[in-house]
Symmetry: C2
Subunit: 324 residues, 2 copies
C-alpha cells in the first residue's frame, strides 16, 4: 500500500515519469491505492488485473502469491491498449465474478466454476484452463486468428469502398437527373415557344387580312361618298346655272344612279357583314394541368449484388458485381 | 374664232384673268378654238356644251341661234364642277351622237330620235324633252332627289363608321388575343415551374435519404474496422506481454467475436445492397409534343347584322345592330 506522500527517491522518479504519463495516458491512477481511498499515479500496468499500479503496489504485486505470475507492461505501452483490452476481464458473464478456470473442449468454451456444474453432466472433456493454455502463444492459433482478422479487415475495407462508390454514384445520378430535368424543361419551353410563334404568325396574318378587307371596303364607301357629294354639288350647279332641260336630263340620269346606290346601301345595311377575330384555346393545351401531373417520378431502387472478394490473396482484391 | 394672238385689250384682260384661271382650273382651253387648231384660254364655261369658251367665242355663242339658250358660268365656278358634270353629255349611249329630244313617260326614260323608233311601237306617252322639262327646276323633283342623296349620304357615313368601328374592334381583338396568349403561356410556365420545383424537392429528399443511409452504413463499417484493428493490436499485445492463459482466454473471446463479424461480412458481401436514384419521365409530359399540337386556333368569323338607320330624321341617326 502506498503512502500518500511517496519517498523522496520514488517521488522524484515518479514526477519525471508522471509527466510523460500525463501526456500519454491522461492521469492513469493506481488501482489498489484507489480502492484504499488513497490516490497515486500508476507506474506500470498489470495486463492480467487490467489496471495500473504505482511503484509501491508494483513491488507487492510482483511478490504476492496471487499475482506473482501477472505480466506487467510499462505505462508507455498503455496507449496501444484498447478500451476493449483495458476492460477485458477473464470472468464469466453468466456467473457474476466467476473467473474462467476450466475449458470445455466439447463446446470449445471457457468455463467458470459455475459453468462447470452445468457442463459436467454431459461433457467429458473438461480440462483446467492451465492445461488448455499450454503453448497457447506458440501453437499457431493466434496466427490463425490474425489471418482471419486480416481477411475480415480486407472485406470491411472492400465493403466501405463500395459504400463510398455508391455515395459517389448517387451524387452523379442526382446531377444526371438535374441535367435531364433542365434539358426536358428547355425542350418543352422551346416547343411551346415554337407553338406561340406559330399562333402569333397566324394572328398577324388573320389580322392583316381582316384589316385589308375592311380598308378596301372603307375606301369603296369613301369613294361612293365622294361621288355622291359631287352629284349633290352638280345638281345644285345645274339647278343654279343650267336650263330646265339640262336639269331634267341631269335629274333623270342621277335618279338612275341613285337607284343603284340605294340598292347597294340597302343590301349593305340589311346584311352588314362584320368581321371578328377570335381565338379558341386548344383543349389539350388548356387541359395541360389535368393531364400532366408531374414531370416524372424519382425512385430509389435497391440492387442486390454479390461482391466477390478473392479469398486470402491478401494484397490485391478482385471484386465483381453480379446483379441478381 | 380667236386669233392666235389676242388683241392687246383682250390680252391684258385675259392675262389677268388667266392667272386666276391657271391657279384655279389648270389651263382650261377654249373648246371651239381648240377644234380650229387654234389655242386660247377659256374665259367662261358653257354648262350645256360642257366646255370652256374664250371671250371671243363666248360672244358668238351668246348670239348664235343654236346656243342662244345655253347657260354660261364664270370660270371661277368651274372648280365646283365635278368631272362627272364636266363630261356629262345629253346624248344617248345606245345611239351614238343621238341627243336626247324626247321623254317616254311610260318607261320614265329619256329618248334620242333613235330610241323613239323603238318606243313608238308600244308607248303612247312620248313627249318632247321641252314639254317634259317644263318647271323641272321648280316642281320639287330636284329637291326630292336632294333628299334621297342626303339620306344615302347618311347611310354611307353610317356604313363607313361601322367599318371603322370594325377595324378598331379587330385591333382590340388582336391585342386581346395577344394578352390571352401570353397569359396562357405564363400560367403554363408557372405550372411547369411548380412541377419542376416539386420534383426537385423529391430529388433532394430521395438523395438525402440515400446519402444518410449510406453514410450510416459507412460509419458502421468504419466502426467495425476500428474495433477490428484494436483487436489486432490487442491480441499482439497480449501475445507479447500476457501469459499463455491470458492469450488463450483472449483468443477464445476474440474467436467468438470474429465469428460474429465474419457472419456479418459474409451476409454483406453475398447480398451487397446498392442504392440507385432514378428518374422516370411522366409519359404525359414526354408526349406533350404529340398531344399538344397548337396553343389554339385563330379564326375570322363573319357576323351578319342589320343596321337600322332611322329614316329621314336627317340630323340624328339611330343605328341598331341586330344579330341575325
Ligand atoms: Zn495483476
Ligand atoms: Zn498503489
Ligand atoms: Zn460461468
Ligand atoms: Zn461443455
Ligand atoms: Zn353651249
Ligand atoms: Zn374661242
Ligand atoms: Zn317607252
Ligand atoms: Zn337613243
Amino acid at each position: 500500500m502506498a503512502s500518500k506522500l511517496p519517498s523522496s527517491r520514488s517521488k522524484s522518479t515518479l514526477s519525471i515519469t508522471s509527466k510523460v504519463v500525463t501526456l500519454q495516458t491522461s492521469d492513469e491512477a493506481c488501482g489498489p491505492c484507489k480502492r484504499d481511498n488513497s490516490e497515486d499515479y500508476a507506474f506500470c500496468w498489470c495486463i492480467d488485473c487490467a489496471e495500473g499500479l504505482c511503484s509501491d503496489c508494483e513491488k507487492h504485486h510482483k511478490k504476492s502469491k496471487t499475482s506473482i505470475t501477472h505480466r506487467l507492461i510499462p505505462l508507455l505501452k498503455l496507449k496501444d491498449i484498447s478500451d476493449f483490452l483495458r476492460n477485458f476481464t477473464q470472468t464469466c458473464c453468466d456467473h457474476t465474478g466467476g473467473s474462467f478456470t476450466f475449458y470445455c473442449k466439447s463446446h470449445d468454451k471457457l468455463c467458470c466454476p459455475g459453468c462447470v456444474t452445468i457442463h459436467q453432466k454431459e461433457c467429458h472433456e473438461i480440462i483446467t484452463l492451465g492445461e488448455a493454455s499450454v503453448d497457447a502463444k506458440k501453437n499457431g492459433k493466434i496466427e490463425d486468428l490474425g489471418l482471419r482478422m486480416k481477411e475480415a479487415l480486407t472485406t470491411l475495407n472492400e465493403l466501405e469502398n463500395h459504400k463510398k462508390d455508391n455515395i459517389g454514384m448517387i451524387n452523379a445520378q442526382r446531377n444526371g437527373i438535374r441535367t435531364t430535368l433542365s434539358e426536358m424543361r428547355r425542350k418543352v419551353n422551346d416547343y411551346l415557344d415554337s407553338l406561340e410563334m406559330r399562333i402569333e404568325e397566324k394572328l398577324l396574318q388573320a389580322h392583316k387580312e381582316c384589316i385589308e378587307k375592311l380598308e378596301t371596303q372603307t375606301k369603296d364607301l369613301e369613294k361612293r361618298t365622294e361621288t355622291l357629294k359631287t352629284w349633290q354639288s352638280d345638281i345644285t350647279m345645274v339647278k343654279d346655272y343650267g336650263s330646265d332641260t339640262h336639269s331634267f336630263v341631269m335629274s333623270k340620269s342621277l335618279e338612275n344612279l341613285m337607284t343603284e346606290l340605294e340598292t347597294f346601301n340597302r343590301r349593305s345595311t340589311e346584311n352588314f357583314v362584320g368581321l371578328n377575330l377570335s381565338f379558341v384555346t386548344s383543349t389539350t393545351f388548356e387541359n395541360l394541368q389535368n393531364t400532366v401531373h408531374a414531370l416524372g417520378e424519382i425512385s430509389v431502387n435497391k440492387s442486390s449484388t454479390e461482391l466477390i472478394i478473392t479469398p486470402r490473396k491478401s494484397a490485391r482484391i478482385k471484386s465483381k458485381l453480379i446483379v441478381k
